[in-house]
Symmetry: C2
Subunit: 253 residues, 2 copies
Amino acid sequence: MDIVIIGSGNVAAVLGRKFRAAGHKIVQVLSRNAKAASELAYEWDTESTNYKSTINKQADVYIIAVSDDAIPEVAEDLKLPGKVVAHTAAAVSKEALKNITAHYGVFYPLQSLRAGMTSLPDIPIYVDGSDEEAKTKLSALARSISPEQVAVAGPEDRMKLHVAAVLVSNFTNHLYKLAADYCQQEGLDFRQLLPLIEETALRLKEISPKEAQTGPAIRHDRETIQKHLELLNAYPQLKEVYLLLTHSIQQGN
Amino acid sequence: MDIVIIGSGNVAAVLGRKFRAAGHKIVQVLSRNAKAASELAYEWDTESTNYKSTINKQADVYIIAVSDDAIPEVAEDLKLPGKVVAHTAAAVSKEALKNITAHYGVFYPLQSLRAGMTSLPDIPIYVDGSDEEAKTKLSALARSISPEQVAVAGPEDRMKLHVAAVLVSNFTNHLYKLAADYCQQEGLDFRQLLPLIEETALRLKEISPKEAQTGPAIRHDRETIQKHLELLNAYPQLKEVYLLLTHSIQQGN
């Protein structure tokens, strides 16, 4: 397909690379950030523009990969009749695009994307569309970059997936940060924990998180928990997190 | 080195494989669990025994890889004068082994080990020893299986590392479990989150957890947080965890 990418941030950069790797052509990058847009355009051997008035009207699909807040601004006055247009936000209604075309939708990548990432990860995609045309084209595009991880999800499921993503990504990363801060304060090398962090994530391919749960909390090992809490007296924020998660593990079910 | 492995659980199984892969010889497996011991002995082409009275007295190093509780029982009446003997527990004093030999210590693997794991992970090792003989031999053994991730750690540092390991492994795994339960209740496929879980862990090789933090909490995106909390009304335990971690992220520093 011929694709116009609107936006030049992390999601735009990685999706564009995925599209190209799957054989699609990026025919234009449109972004108000002229520098980032021209860098992506150079990488992709295509043209960039900073003005909606000069948008390429010949593409098959338009992907709006900008921050949630910026979607209304992009949609304002944009007219692409007959074209398929989608944004990439979990928490924004597809109706935000309804004045652009009759074939609008959502193309939500359930992944943490960074322009600087050195390899392209698997990206499960959840699509939604205003009509068959939008659903069919967006699903085909999604399957081309993620053959086995495409599903249709309406706004409610998208929001639920977003909650789950916050748990397993934003919150686990916060635990990594608390541990990194603690290690730094105590003169320990946080990087020594990376193999453990990696294994804890990768073992889920083989066993469920319920089967994988170990540690003093689930063993109800009061003596060890008590020793840990004493070490955390100087870290009230961390201690509160430790207590709540230990309690939550012990609630079980 | 010639090594006797005492124990036949997850840590015994994986350390034994690592030792063999590094060219050491397991000369005996000693465990009260006859079946598990003979299975490991078969795998390693060596002998097994269930009785301390028949322990092989010709090895260089003895690794006691049993649960914390079982260490005193193993140590009782065991005499290996002149030999180097270590346990693998973060939270147990090395002095638990002082009646066995003058050269006792700890060989703590900072990793989540499962007998059924299909590949051998990196295992940072923290050693401690009662004297130079114990420290030197245990450090050499550790470096042979983990060339770049060996350090000496006394009981206090070991306990601090254990706290950090609980944060990044037991607690993150609990978040995975909460998310898996939530997905199951809501009819979503938890396995679709695995690429995100993996990327969240692996990106720490490239960026710090502080740089990696994203999501509604750190953006102070009240509207999205409010929508998430509404979805969690039927999940009081999960909602409490969501609120506390969101608050903890926003405390920043």
